[in-house]
């Protein structure tokens, strides 16, 4: 029941749209070849690029947050984690709307800046790439904090102490003991943020406007505007393959690393 629709979209991607707008059952891979055309590849790279930058920012901002939480004690730790997630209990569309009303031309930021005459004309944040970027950052940050946090939590404190006892500086301990031990957690966490970002549709749609379309937006417009279901399905197919491949690589990577670690321990 859960995966039947995916089969349909897969089959559809190999069919053809006739000039009349109907679907013809002529199996071919033209849709996939078409998705390699310049305009689509450009959107694909833009999607990957923006998702990559947003993931890296999440990582840079998220690390101190996770570090702070891991260092806190007892109920402070619990409270910190819960505080991080309360905004995510509300509806997704609502969070986006909150960002819109914050960043828009009449939004809070522009109102304050205009009031204190720091700027003359409203800052253009909404409906630009910066808007999409902030939207991605907002919606994914806590989901990267958690894996870093749990990797830091799992780190045996005696490892760091051993490092200090052997005369390492704080920086050396951090680079040679902490980082190698939480590397995997960070990598897996980043992928779990990066992958859904690649498939975003609503954030670029509502915060980016027409110019900042992601691959997901192109796909949806093939379905609803162009009425070209087979080609839209082919884009969905490409996107799924891209995502599943990333997941597979991550799986392989963490498995082979697990073996190495097991070998060392033994």
């Amino acid at each position: 029941m859960t995966f039947l629709p995916f089969l349909i979209i897969l089959v559809m991607s190999f069919l053809e749209r006739t000039p009349l707008g109907t679907i013809s059952f002529h199996l071919n891979i033209n849709n996939y070849l078409r998705s390699f055309e310049y305009i689509y590849i450009k959107v694909l790279f833009k999607t990957i690029w923006l998702a990559l930058i947003a993931t890296l920012t999440c990582l840079i901002v998220g690390f101190p947050v996770a570090y702070h939480l891991a260092r806190s004690r007892g109920w402070m730790k619990q409270l910190g984690l819960i505080l991080l997630f309360i905004p995510f209990w509300t509806n997704f569309i609502l969070r986006i709307y909150g960002l819109v009303s914050l960043l828009g031309n009449h939004g809070l930021i522009n109102q304050v800046l205009l009031h204190f005459e720091l700027i003359k004309t409203p800052l253009e944040i909404l409906y630009t790439r910066t808007g999409v970027y902030l939207g991605l950052l907002y919606n994914y940050l806590p989901f990267l904090v958690v894996p870093i946090f749990s990797a830091l939590e799992k780190l045996d404190p005696s490892l760091r102490e051993a490092g200090f006892d052997l005369g390492a500086s704080r920086f050396q301990v951090f680079r040679r003991v902490v980082i190698p031990n939480i590397k995997e957690g960070i990598f897996v966490g980043s992928l779990f943020v990066f992958i859904p970002m690649l498939g975003e549709y609503v954030i670029p749609d509502l915060l980016g406007g027409a110019k900042e379309a992601f691959l997901g937006n192109i796909m949806v417009s093939q379905f609803f505007v162009m009425q070209d279901w087979p080609f839209g399905s082919a884009i969905a197919g490409m996107l799924s393959i891209l995502l599943l491949m990333t997941l597979w690589i991550q799986n392989r990577w963490s498995r082979s690393n697990g073996f190495k670690k097991g070998g060392l321990d033994a």
Binding site: P5, I9, Y67, V100, V112, F174, M219, F223
Partner: protein
């Protein structure tokens, strides 16, 4: 980058704590401002003074209450359907789950792994090809098929935790397999089922994208209503609605978090 982090570790707490609080401010600002706007005379002007008008208006406008009731109905029906499908799937597959090829397991996980936009479009295509008229029923089925995967994994974990000796003891005492299921397995997985149902309900109630694709023209759930109001532009009605929605979501999650089984799903989104 390493160097920067190394330094931040040495000076440790003040700097790191400051970043932590700035991040919290960033996360709370949009929602805080939404709530504030609900009480402003002119939601786009901070200096326009406070009012309760928008909240009062909210209680008299049917265009808000109809979507709310639709959302609740869809949530209840789809959660129940997802619970049945997910639980049956888990009960049927628990003994084989370890032997199932990874490929089959990831098929069940597809709706969790793939972006929602693909799930939504494939469901839309599915309904269109079956020539089903889009509306209430299709949204219920779409939500159920999506949440069933989540329920399946919750129930699978629950079932794995069961002590196999209990079933064996019942068998030794002469129970049939039917009796074992209803009188031994069932009572033990009911807490998990309640958690699964609540999670499925929350997923459905909060869902925008899948409803957006599978609802057709006539049906409006609460998130769809917010979206369409947003498209028109920022209106006071929208702010009242946001306030209502924030209250409902907070209530739902408090209930959900009080259920152990689904806590980690909430925390992981």
């Amino acid at each position: 980058m390493d160097l920067k982090r190394g330094v931040s570790m040495r000076r440790s707490n003040p700097l790191v704590a400051t970043i932590f609080f700035i991040v919290l401010l960033f996360l709370y600002a949009p929602l805080g401002y939404l709530i504030l706007q609900t009480f402003l005379n002119n939601p786009n002007d901070l200096q326009s003074g406070f009012t309760l008008n928008w909240i009062i208006k909210l209680f008299h406008s049917p265009s808000v209450w109809d979507p709310l009731i639709t959302s609740l109905e869809i949530g209840i029906l789809s959660a129940s359907l997802a619970l049945i499908v997910g639980t049956l799937g888990a009960v049927g597959l628990v003994d084989f789950a370890a032997f199932l090829p990874a490929a089959v397991q990831s098929l069940i996980m597809l709706p969790i792994l793939l972006p929602e936009v693909i799930t939504g479009l494939s469901l839309l295509l599915f309904f269109l090809l079956l020539k089903v008229e889009l509306g209430f029923t299709t949204v219920v089925i779409a939500h159920a098929s999506f949440s069933a995967s989540f329920v399946y994994f919750i129930m699978l974990e629950q079932l794995k935790k069961l002590d196999p000796q209990m079933a064996e003891a019942a068998e030794d005492l002469g129970a049939t397999s039917n009796q074992i299921f209803w009188r031994v397995t069932m009572p033990n997985i009911i807490p998990g089922m309640m958690g699964g149902w609540l999670l499925a309900f929350t997923l459905s109630f909060d869902d925008f994208l899948i409803s957006f694709f599978t609802s057709g023209a006539g049906l409006t759930t609460l998130p769809l209503k917010i979206y369409s109001l947003m498209r028109i532009g920022i209106t006071p009605e929208l702010n009242g609605l946001s306030f209502l929605m924030i209250c409902i979501s907070t209530f739902l999650v408090l209930v959900l978090v009080s259920k152990e089984q689904s806590r980690k799903w909430v925390l992981k989104g």
